[in-house]
Symmetry: C2
Subunit: 438 residues, 2 copies
């Protein structure tokens, strides 16, 4: 028999700076999931946690309790021809503008015979959703059964699909509550929300891409590093080989932000081309995932060049009903913004671009809203590039012309051209956090 | 047309240490009362307020908004024979053990021709409720209409009755929420809860008895002083002549704690006798109330001695259906605890005595529970008194013998007899706060 507690006592403990025990957290999450602890009690506790923090042990127990609220996936049936288990590798990004990395990354890693079960979400707000992007491919479907996922991992190696509702239902309920009560911005709660789902998905290795900058959820290096350390600790404590990269998100990744436009750019990368920053991040994250399952003697760049990653992409899209050769949707309206001055492009703000793409129809304001497959933004220059007055800088794409003015508004102040000075490039990958750094 | 706000923005503002505007607070309380702002949002905000505080201006606006959520009482119809308005005086105690002061105080002040509209509550937890005490008088009823209150103020001068549900309904809803979400202990929220009801009651002068000690809600002088200053500021800003006394509550007031036993002791005071501490506090609070309506040339002690206060008490009880001469209920069981050692009684802990009286049946755990009229505690000595081993110290009264063991348990450790040393008496009234002290 499990002990029960007075939830008001637990709220008071956290409110006054105390620590909750494992048994208390376990009871609390269970009672909240089944409705014994009311929403108004959980939101008061979430605010106390946001303002008082949680210890590493509390955060780990919170995560475990959320995992235990639902089912866990099991990939132990995946075996090699010699009968040994095939270890799986997964990646999670905290979200950024133009972040299509999952699209080339999953088939790239799978092309080295490492199964990649990439359970993803839809976009909400100014950062896009992986599933929304892939749905711009005619015929492609996001919903797979657990059996279908396992089969596709075994045959193709890579799956990008919707996470089932059976994983960490406590997190789903709590996230919806935090969203309406001003309690989203707590690092322990963000970390446990992400990691409960990733651990429940049953991956063996995990790389976290923690974005920092104007277009990211974390605006400062300190916050991003703390989130990264918290998540690496949670993964490590749960037996998942976890590392994190802190990556720059003041500028959009690549030259596109939207749905079909990002699929197109991802395919350029898989074909051995594509923007340098997208290639760099895809390759570095692939190295982390491969190392996580013990493969350190291969170069991911090779499989981008030799077509193996592209072959896996085509098989992955086809396995989920998509036509990898079908033309992608084109927007009904395009509008190009040109440079007002000549000089060096000093700044192209990720947040402004993300909001513009969102307002053009690439994203949604409420989770039931539809998105436009062809909506988004194409960039014609990146910070550091020399530009000439009158040259194209940004092309806005949408099916709905009335959306253009508010998208343009989002970009006012997002672009800065300076006179001749050299822009210092801070580098895309700012830091790496592994278990041994904790 | 009133502006509306995004409640999540308001929660975030307070969470991050910002200040809410008058318009924001006014909208918020209105939206919460009508249900547009949900309980889970208000509880998160209450936690943020508890941990971040509110400014004097925010607290004042919060109080005003709660007053505006309901009706206000109006005593301007009370006139003297020369046609001038009769100013009313009221008192509020933050609650203590053995605190029966309202019972002698209301008729004492009214005996000087000052109307006293004393709207009171029932007890919950270890501090008793004024209405519960008076209901031990056969026939007495707590529920009066506004018309009956006005008539009784005009004819008798003193009314002690239940506060109608029309006063500050936002406070009622918010208090019930705070009670289950660990957000009671916020000084601005406590102050605005008390003062919204008192200001809505429409009194001209108000004295606050802010208790501090083991048997009180405020355990430290600093917290009590802050609460007193906050409430005096709120009253003053609302045009109510408000003062506060900080009074000691480590030891129960008087020699009784319960229902009928406290009525009995109150009548001793009205008859010119009674314990010195109860008399002292009654007289000092009466002076504050009289001064609040401009009467400074009378001595309250006089009307206790000459029977005028007792006459008003009898009229007040009779006007509400009570028989002032009826014998009060006697308990079916009594159990006396005696002194184990001889010496000086150094400590008689208010909290232990309050819990004992509560467990004997004088109070309730849930608001729908009944109370026993005859349940309570009689004390035979007070700190500073010399006691002899074997002499009676405390008598427990109840109608239900099975309640005795847990009541005795509450008193273990509550009594301390020391060998001969003199106990320093800190004094009952610790400080006074008036508008000019802010």
């Amino acid at each position: 028999m499990t002990q029960s507690y007075d939830v008001v006592d637990l709220i008071r403990t956290k409110r006054d700076g105390g620590t909750l025990s494992s048994a208390q957290i376990s009871w609390l999450i269970g009672a909240y999931t089944e409705g014994t602890v009311a929403d108004e009690q959980m939101s008061a506790l979430a605010m106390a946690i946001l303002l008082r923090g949680m210890s590493r042990a509390e955060t780990a127990q919170w995560t475990t309790a959320m995992i235990n609220s639902g089912e866990r996936m099991d990939f132990s049936a995946l075996t090699r021809s010699d009968g040994r288990r095939r270890l799986t590798a997964d990646k999670h990004s905290t979200g950024g503008v133009g972040d299509k990395i999952t699209l080339p990354l999953a088939p790239l890693v799978a092309s080295f015979c490492v199964p990649v079960p990439q359970l993803s979400g839809r976009g909400l707000g100014h950062t896009g959703g992986t599933l929304d992007k892939l749905e711009s491919i005619p015929g492609w479907r996001a919903a797979l059964s657990n059996q279908e996922i396992l089969h596709q991992l075994d045959t193709v190696g890579a799956v990008i699909c919707a996470a089932g509702s059976g994983l960490a239902p406590a997190d789903k309920k709590l996230y919806a509550l935090r969203d309406v009560t001003g309690t989203v911005e707590s690092i322990p709660l963000i970390a446990s929300s992400i990691m409960s789902k990733k651990i429940a998905e049953g991956t063996d290795a995990l790389v976290l891409d923690v974005k920092v900058g104007t277009g990211a959820f974390m605006r400062t290096d300190d916050d991003a590093a703390e989130l990264a350390r918290t998540m690496v600790a949670l993964g490590t404590d749960a037996g998942v080989r976890t590392t994190a990269l802190l990556t720059e998100m003041n500028t959009p990744l690549g030259l596109t932000s939207g749905n079909a436009v990002e699929v197109e750019e991802s395919m350029e990368v898989l074909a051995g081309g594509g923007p340098a920053d997208v290639v760099e991040l895809t390759v570095e994250l692939a190295r982390e995932m491969l190392a996580g399952v013990g493969i350190t003697d291969v170069d991911p760049v090779e499989n981008l060049r030799n077509g193996k990653a592209m072959d896996t992409w085509r098989a992955m899209i086809a396995a989920q009903g998509g036509d990898p050769d079908a033309p992608l949707p084109k927007p009904q309206h395009e509008h190009t913004i040109t440079a007002e001055d000549s000089g060096t492009l000093a700044r192209l703000d990720a947040y402004g671009v993300g909001i513009a793409a969102w307002r053009l129809g690439a994203g949604r304001a409420r989770k039931e809203d539809p998105v436009q497959a062809a909506a988004g933004v194409r960039l014609h220059a990146k910070p550091g590039d020399t530009v000439t007055a009158g040259q194209p800088l940004i092309t806005l794409c949408t099916d709905d012309q009335s959306r253009l003015p508010r998208a343009q508004e989002a970009l006012s102040g997002a672009v800065e051209v300076i006179d001749g000075a050299v822009v210092e490039n801070a580098g895309l990958i700012k830091a790496r956090v592994a278990a041994e750094d904790l």
